[in-house]
C-alpha cells in the first residue's frame, strides 16, 4: 500500500463512527496499543516539547526506508501518533518529505496538528520530515 492508499484506508475506518466520542474511543485504543518507546530512549534529543503534552520520536533508516517509533505522555496524542506512524513508517525518505497528510483533516483531527494546539504533534511531523530530508541529502 502506498501513502495515499494507507490514508484512504484510515479515512474509511473512521467513516463508521457516528459521533466524536466513538472516534476518540478508537484513538485512545490505538494509543494504548502503540508500543512504548524504551524509557532509556526518552532522551532530550528525541523529545518534542509541546505546551500541553510531550512527544518522543525515534527514527532509523534501513534498506532505503524510514522507520519510526514514538511515544507521548498523553494517550490521545499517542493514538494520533499511531495513525501517523502507520502512514509514514516503511516509506522512502523522498515520499515522507513531500507527504500530504490529508487524512488528518478528513477524519476531523486537524485541530491536533494546529500550531496553537501545542501538543507536540505538529513538531513531531516537522521532525519526521526533517529526518527524511536528511536521508535524501545523504543519499
Amino acid at each position: 500500500m502506498n501513502l495515499r492508499e494507507k490514508q484512504e484506508e484510515i479515512i474509511q475506518e473512521f467513516e463508521v463512527f457516528d459521533d466524536w466520542m466513538e472516534k476518540y474511543e478508537y484513538i485512545i485504543d490505538l494509543g494504548k496499543d502503540l508500543p512504548q518507546i524504551n524509557e532509556a530512549n526518552k532522551t532530550e534529543d528525541r523529545l518534542i516539547e509541546g505546551c500541553q503534552s510531550r512527544v518522543w520520536l525515534d527514527s532509523n533508516f534501513s534498506d532505503g526506508k524510514m522507520h519510526f517509533s514514538a511515544d507521548s505522555d498523553a494517550i490521545i496524542t499517542k493514538g494520533i501518533i499511531g495513525l501517523l506512524i502507520r502512514v509514514l513508517d516503511g516509506e522512502e525518505p523522498k515520499d515522507i518529505a513531500t507527504a500530504d497528510l490529508f487524512f488528518i483533516s478528513k477524519i476531523g483531527l486537524q485541530e491536533h496538528l494546529s500550531p496553537t494546539r501545542a501538543n507536540g504533534l505538529l513538531g513531531m511531523v516537522k521532525r519526521l520530515k526533517l529526518e527524511a530530508i536528511k536521508h535524501i541529502s545523504a543519499s
Binding site: D19, W20, M21, Y24, E25, I28, C51, Q52, S53, R54, D73, A74, I75, I76, T77, N119
Partner: protein, 411 residues
C-alpha cells in the same frame, strides 16, 4: 451616564444577558467553564462595541469635531465609572493599559527604574508567569533580588515565611489576590499592612479577583491594583492599572509617544499629567468605553450574592469530583474562589480536556502559566474548571457525568 437598577440575584435572568452562552458545540449545549481564562460578554457590552464602530468612532482628545468630543467624553466617563467602582480617590489614578500583563510591566519598568541593586521584590510561589517574569527582567536590569514566599500543600501562602522574607530591603510586594490555578484567596489585607510597616509598596494582581468580589482599593490600601478587562466581562486588549496618585506622579513614563507629552522640542520634552503620562499613543478607545459598560453591568449585579453562588458551585463540583478514584483536587485552601483544579493519577490533563471539549464542555488544561506551581505539586498540569456567576448546578451535573465518562475511557 445611565445606571441599571440592581436586581435580586437570579442566574436564569443573568444567563439571558449573555448571548455566547446560548449555543451548541459539537451538537451539545455549550457549558463554559473557562472563565478564569476569559469571561463571556453581556449584551450591554456587545451592543456597545457594535454601536461604537457603527456610529461613534473617532480619535479622542484634542479633536475639535463632534464625534471626537463625544468619544472623548465617553472614554473619560468610563474611566470615572471604573474609579468609582474601585473606590479610587481620583480618576487620574486609573491608567488604561493593554491588560494585567501590560500593567505589571509598566510598574516593573517605571517604578522598577527607581530601585537600586540589592533592593528586594517579594512575590509568591503561586504567581502567574506575568507576575514573575517582569520582576525577573527588572532584577536583571537593576540588580534587584527576587524572593518567593512558599505555599503549603493546600495551596495557601505560608505567612510565617512571608514574615521572615519581608524586611527593610523589600521595596515591592507583588502578589496575586486570587490564584488562577488554585483559586486560593490570599490574605492581602494582612500582607499590605505588614509590607507598609517596613516601607514596601504593594502591587495586587487582581486579574482573578475583580470578577468575583467587590473591590475597594482605598480600603485595601494597596499601592497598585491591576486587572484585565476581558476577564471582567469587557473586551479584550484593554486593562487597568490603579496606582496611588503620589506614587504614579513620582514614576517616570513607561512608553513615549503621542498623548503622553505636554510639549515636545528636539531639545527637551515635558510630559503630560496623570493619567495621560502613562498612555502613549491612540488608546483602545472602544475597549475603554466598553469596559465602562462592563462595569455598568456589574453595578447591576448583587456581587455578594454572586460570590455566594459561585462558591456554592465550586463546593458542589468538588464534593462530587472528590468521589472519583485517583482524582486529586489541586488547591484546597480554606478561603478559595470558584476555581476547581484537579489531576487524576496516570491520566494526562490534556486527554481529559479533549474529551470534555467533545462533550460540549470548555475547561482549561495545562500549567495555566504557573509552571513553578506545577513543579511544586510534581504534576504536568491540571484540568481547571473555573466558574462565573452565570454558571449553574445543572451544568456541573453534566460536567461531572462527562468527567466520569472521560475517565472510564482513559483508564
Amino acid at each position: 451616564m445611565s445606571n441599571l437598577e440592581q436586581k435580586p440575584f437570579n442566574v436564569r435572568e443573568i444567563r439571558e444577558e449573555f448571548p455566547a452562552l446560548r449555543q451548541q458545540v459539537y451538537g451539545k449545549n455549550l457549558i463554559y467553564f473557562d472563565n478564569g481564562a476569559t469571561s463571556q460578554k453581556p449584551k450591554l457590552v456587545v451592543d456597545a462595541i457594535n454601536l461604537f464602530y457603527s456610529k461613534e468612532n473617532a480619535n479622542i482628545h484634542r479633536g475639535v469635531h463632534y464625534l471626537s468630543q463625544r468619544a472623548t467624553t465617553d472614554y473619560e466617563a468610563a474611566r470615572q465609572r471604573i474609579q468609582r467602582y474601585l473606590g479610587a480617590r481620583k480618576s487620574e489614578e486609573i491608567i488604561f493599559t493593554k491588560g494585567t500583563t501590560d500593567s505589571i510591566n509598566l510598574v516593573a519598568y517605571s517604578y522598577g527604574s527607581m530601585l537600586s541593586a540589592g533592593d528586594e521584590i517579594l512575590i509568591s510561589a503561586m504567581e502567574h508567569h506575568s507576575n514573575i517574569v517582569p520582576w525577573q527582567m527588572l532584577c536583571e536590569r537593576q540588580g534587584c533580588v527576587l524572593k518567593v514566599v512558599p505555599i503549603n500543600q493546600r495551596g495557601e501562602l505560608i505567612m510565617d515565611e512571608f514574615d521572615k522574607l519581608l524586611s527593610k530591603k523589600t521595596k515591592l510586594v507583588a502578589i496575586t489576590h486570587i490564584s488562577n490555578t488554585l483559586g486560593t484567596i490570599n490574605p492581602i489585607k494582612e500582607i499590605i499592612q505588614k509590607a507598609h510597616a517596613v516601607g514596601s509598596k504593594v502591587l495586587i494582581d487582581g486579574a482573578q479577583s475583580i470578577q468575583h468580589m467587590s473591590i475597594n482599593v482605598k480600603e485595601m490600601d494597596c499601592d497598585f491594583y491591576v486587572f484585565s478587562s476581558h476577564k471582567v466581562f469587557g473586551p479584550t486588549g484593554i486593562g487597568v492599572l490603579y496606582g496611588k496618585e503620589d506614587i504614579l506622579n513620582r514614576m517616570p513614563p513607561y512608553q513615549g509617544g503621542g498623548d503622553m507629552i505636554a510639549r515636545v522640542t528636539f531639545e527637551r520634552t515635558t510630559y503630560n499629567e496623570l493619567p495621560f503620562k502613562f498612555e502613549a499613543g491612540t488608546p483602545h478607545i472602544a475597549g475603554g468605553i466598553c469596559l465602562g459598560k462592563a462595569f455598568e453591568y456589574l453595578e447591576s449585579i448583587d456581587m455578594e450574592a454572586a460570590e455566594r453562588h459561585e462558591r456554592e458551585l465550586a463546593k458542589y463540583a468538588e464534593d462530587m469530583l472528590d468521589t472519583f478514584e485517583g482524582l486529586q483536587i489541586i488547591g484546597e485552601a480554606k478561603n478559595k474562589t470558584s476555581v476547581v483544579s484537579f489531576s487524576v493519577k496516570g491520566i494526562h490533563p490534556f486527554d481529559i480536556g479533549t474529551l470534555l471539549d467533545k462533550q460540549g464542555i470548555a475547561v482549561r488544561t495545562g500549567h495555566h502559566c504557573t509552571q513553578p506551581l506545577m513543579d511544586f505539586y510534581g504534576i504536568p498540569g491540571t484540568v481547571r474548571a473555573s466558574f462565573a456567576f452565570y454558571n449553574t448546578k445543572e451544568e456541573i451535573d453534566t460536567f461531572v457525568t462527562a468527567v466520569e465518562r472521560s475517565l472510564s475511557m482513559l483508564k
